[in-house]
Amino acid sequence: MVAPKSLGAEGTPFEMDIERGKIGEFARAVHAEHPDHWQGDHPVVPATFLTTQFFWEERVAGANPWALVEMSQERGMHAEQEYIFHGPPPRAGERLFARSRIAEIWEKPSRSAGTLTFVKMITEFRDAEGTLRAEAILTGVETGKPPEAP
């Protein structure tokens, strides 16, 4: 069950290195075939690559405030995801400095899945100079019961 007290929670800052091998692995998984993901010394990330923040935040105690949301693994799911790039997307070799926060929690009734509880988490990614390079906005939803399969 979503814990309302998690609203406003902020994770501890974490670093994320943009790695060439990870870019290639991720590009293959999402069928991204543009040569800029492979060629040169500093390939560019695929569109949704910043989701790999999971690997970096899990090594830093308290980095992921999502754990405080206590969303059910069975009835919780991803409703929306957004990535905003303030300039060209990151490239291999860059180090980003990230921090996540639980920005919003709200409820909405639904006919097929009980009361829906939405939670929005925003992660900011900055470079060494503190310039905002990208934002990841995750919206999760927990259903009151499992949704009906089509």
Binding site: A29, V44, A47, T51, M77, E82, P88, A149, P150
Partner: protein, 131 residues
Amino acid sequence: MNTPEPRTFGPITRTDFVRYQGASGDMNPVHHDELFAKNAGFPAPLGVGMFPAGVMASWATDWLGPENLRRVRIRWKSPVFPDYVLTVSGQVVREYEEDGVAMLDLELAVTTQEDRVSVQGWMSFVRPEGL
């Protein structure tokens, strides 16, 4: 501007989900553990939504260049399961200038073999030179 043809992929497999989960770090068992998924009320492992969403975004970045991407927004409309055949399509809906830079907005969708929309997407790109 010639919009590329829709891209069809699949039938999608549990292996696609596992490959994506390994790459992304989201190891929720509902996407690969048959028993866990069934106990949660699903007929089979629930497709990891970021997988078709990622393929959708790749269709656009393969066309307009990943370097030019400035925004991608994804909304999930209906679940996917193993053996679904998915189609990515999209179109330019707006051409404009922002701070003197030529931009393009796209609307995209991933549809299932039954023409059900699974994923909706909105993306913004710097318009590539010569396009």
